[in-house]
Symmetry: C2
Subunit: 262 residues, 2 copies
DNA sequence: GAGTGGTCTAGACCACTGT
DNA sequence: CAGTGGTCTAGACCACTCC
């Protein structure tokens, strides 16, 4: 026989799955549940923690425990890369109209709030391995935050690295006040004569660091998806790398792999 | 000022990150930590739960709290699809030699243990939408578990669906005792004249259900990666769909997107 | 059997929310 | 202000591991 807090969690889980408790509903107060199940409040809290870790409920200090609503999910596809490449050579008015994120999500530019900051750093061991340069080589580090205008938490944290020497031919690329750059990184690279041939995306999931949980407003128990995107030019040289952190509870990724015909 | 259990967690986290506590090391007993920090045992346990949710420590009943070792991670790439397609028309001796998982991971067939079971079901609303068939259409449901020979937990739970009518031309495909089928699903489809043109993979992360946590031996607080793979034939018809559940703490996925040249 | 973590009690007081 | 969850105490007893 399962222990008390598991049994209580089972009963509440059942109520939620059966729809007796609907998304947004408040659960009875912890003290009420303690009376009902004839257990102490800490035991009730153990049961509720189980349900929270399963993503079924959400605790709100001073208000109660609520059945969770799913947040707006963000779709990210790998078709965006070809789309962005096609767009990179279009004239500025076309590039201004929409970006890759809007292309993926079907949103308008005005629905999104975007923030960028630039920093100059020197290549460390990890980045030197990726870009095949000596340690200490000057890099441009670009940090991006994107969120819905109507929500407070960003849905992606992006840190992008690029070898500074590659883009110095166009001083506009070194100035963060030019962000958001119409046409994105592929257009930026196009202005210095670089064409991409391939994108690699490395995907893992892990628990958030406390800092990530804070910034993404992640409920405890939620993972982050970590995507490392590396762009290769036509000489098969890594020219740009981005670390992308995405909230696991509201991100969907779609990868399409075409196959050669027999 | 942070509360007591957060402050204790911070100190322990710092010890782990600094390497004073190394992977595999046992932490002092909870009662010892309670003495050291002059707090009650439940407060110490709150601190340890934080670290467990961050994946830094692992609790072992009756033994102690241990700094976590990372488990063997499993790499899954989308290059495997083209590789599997190329292999599908090879003669059986070639197909027997190795499978897509071994191709991705660099392992030998003997390193892996594989289990399959078949079941006949009728199409529900969701599956009917994917395969564009009427509800109630007979489907073959195939369930797969794959694990390392030296570990007890599988690293993938796969449930695959296929419209039965598509594959009835080859009765061998309806018999689970023929698994593992050399050359995989793409070779199976080849035997009934089906060629794939495209694979879509839909990736999300979420907390495991209690059943998944049990089967994958996931420590509490770990997410699962959920991959829904849909295979399309040369008429752009969905011919096979798999739900793949992967442990988030030991799975890496690599997606390569080739770009058309200017 | 000694030592460990797991479950549980019956409270106390604090912090936050909404009226 | 009343009601809610958050933190914390100081124990008790149980279950598991290892010697």
């Amino acid at each position: 026989m399962a222990v008390a807090y598991e049994r209580i969690a089972d009963e509440l889980r059942q109520s939620i799955r059966a729809g007796e408790l609907r998304p947004g509903d408040r659960l009875p107060a912890e003290s009420k549940l303690a009376e009902k199940y004839k257990r102490s409040v800490p035991t009730i809290r153990d049961a509720l923690r189980l349900l929270r870790d399963e993503g079924l409920i959400e605790k709100q200090h001073g208000r109660g425990n609520f059945v969770r609503q799913s947040r707006t999910t963000v779709l990210r596809t790998n078709l965006r890369h070809q789309w962005e490449k096609d767009r990179a050579r279009e004239p500025e008015p076309v590039r201004l109209r929409t970006g890759a994120t809007e292309h993926d999500t079907g949103l308008e530019i005005d629905d999104l709030v975007f923030h960028a900051s630039y920093r100059y750093i020197e290549s460390d061991e990890r980045l030197s391995g990726i870009f095949d340069v000596q340690e200490g080589t000057p890099l441009l580090e670009r940090t991006y935050r994107t969120r819905y205008a109507v929500e407070s938490a960003p849905f992606s944290l992006v840190t992008s690295y690029i070898v500074r020497g590659l883009i110095e031919g166009n001083p506009d690329l070194l100035d963060e006040t030019n962000e958001p750059w119409p046409g994105g990184t592929q257009n930026q690279l196009f202005t210095v004569g670089i064409e991409l041939s391939r994108i690699e995306e490395h995907v893992t999931a892990r628990p958030p660091t406390p800092e990530e949980a804070e910034e993404l407003e992640l409920p405890p128990g939620t993972s982050v998806l970590v995507l490392r995107k590396t762009s290769f030019d036509t000489d098969d040289r890594a020219v740009e790398m981005s670390d992308v952190t995405l909230p696991g509870d509201r991100t969907e990724m779609l990868f399409t792999t075409p196959l050669e015909r027999w």
